[in-house]
C-alpha cells in the first residue's frame, strides 16, 4: 500500500524568506502526486499536481514542486513567502486514479 511522509510537523519562516516543505512517498510505481493547502476554516485547495513529464511543476500562488524518483520525494518550494501563505500543507499520492493518500500535514507559520 502507498504511504506519504511529511517529516516536518511545524515550520516557521520569516516573510520574504524561501520555503521548502518535504514530502516522501512509498509506492511501487510512479504515482500521481499532489500538494494541497488548507487555510483555517477552509477546505483543502489544490496547489499543484504531477502526473508525468517535466519533473518540475508549477502551481498556483507561486508554488512549485519537484518530483525526484530516485529519492521518492516531491518537495514543495516557494522563493519568497508571504504572510498569507500561513496554513497547513498536505502532500498526497494517488495510485493511478485511486483514492488519495495524504501525509500528516505541515503547519506553516510566517513571521513578520
Amino acid at each position: 500500500a502507498q504511504s506519504v511522509t511529511q517529516p516536518d510537523i511545524h515550520i516557521t519562516v520569516s516573510e520574504g524568506a524561501s520555503l521548502e516543505l518535504r514530502c516522501n512517498y512509498s509506492y511501487g510505481a510512479t504515482p500521481y502526486l499532489f500538494w494541497y493547502v488548507q487555510s483555517p476554516g477552509q477546505g483543502l485547495q489544490l496547489l499543484l499536481k504531477y502526473f508525468s513529464g517535466d519533473t518540475l511543476v508549477q502551481g498556483i500562488k507561486g508554488f512549485e514542486a519537484e518530483f525526484k524518483r530516485s529519492q521518492s520525494s516531491f518537495n514543495l518550494r516557494k522563493p519568497s513567502v508571504h504572510w498569507s501563505d500561513a496554513a497547513e500543507y498536505f502532500c498526497a499520492v494517488a495510485p493511478g486514479g485511486g483514492a488519495l493518500t495524504f501525509g500528516s500535514g505541515t503547519r506553516l507559520q510566517v513571521q513578520p
Binding site: G43, L44, L46, A94, G98, L100, S104, G105
Partner: protein, 115 residues
Amino acid sequence: EAGVTQFPSHSVIEKGQTVTLRCDPISGHDNLYWYRRVMGKEIKFLLHFVKESKQDESGMPNNRFLAERTGGTYSTLKVQPAELEDSGVYFCASSQDPPGRSPLHFGNGTRLTVT
C-alpha cells in the same frame, strides 16, 4: 460554479447518539469521496462513490458508519452510535473524473465532537 458544500459545519453530540453529515458535491461530479482527519493526524480516506454506487469503501472504520448517495447527487454519512474516537473533521470531496485525471474539490469539512 458552487463549490462542495457540507452541513453542518460543526456538530457536538454525546457518546451513543446519532449524527448525520451531509455533502452536496459540485453539480455534474460523478465522483464523491469522504475523508476524515482525527486529532491532527493524517487525512484518511473513508469511501468513494461513483454516482450512486460505492466504488471503494475500504476506509470505513466499522459498521457504525453508513454512507449513502441516493440518486447520485448529495451524500450522507451517518454515525450510529457515535463513540469518542469518532471525533474529528469529516471532509467531502468531488471530481468529474478519478483524481488522476481531474482535480479533487473539497468542502470546508464538518467538525464532529463526541463527548
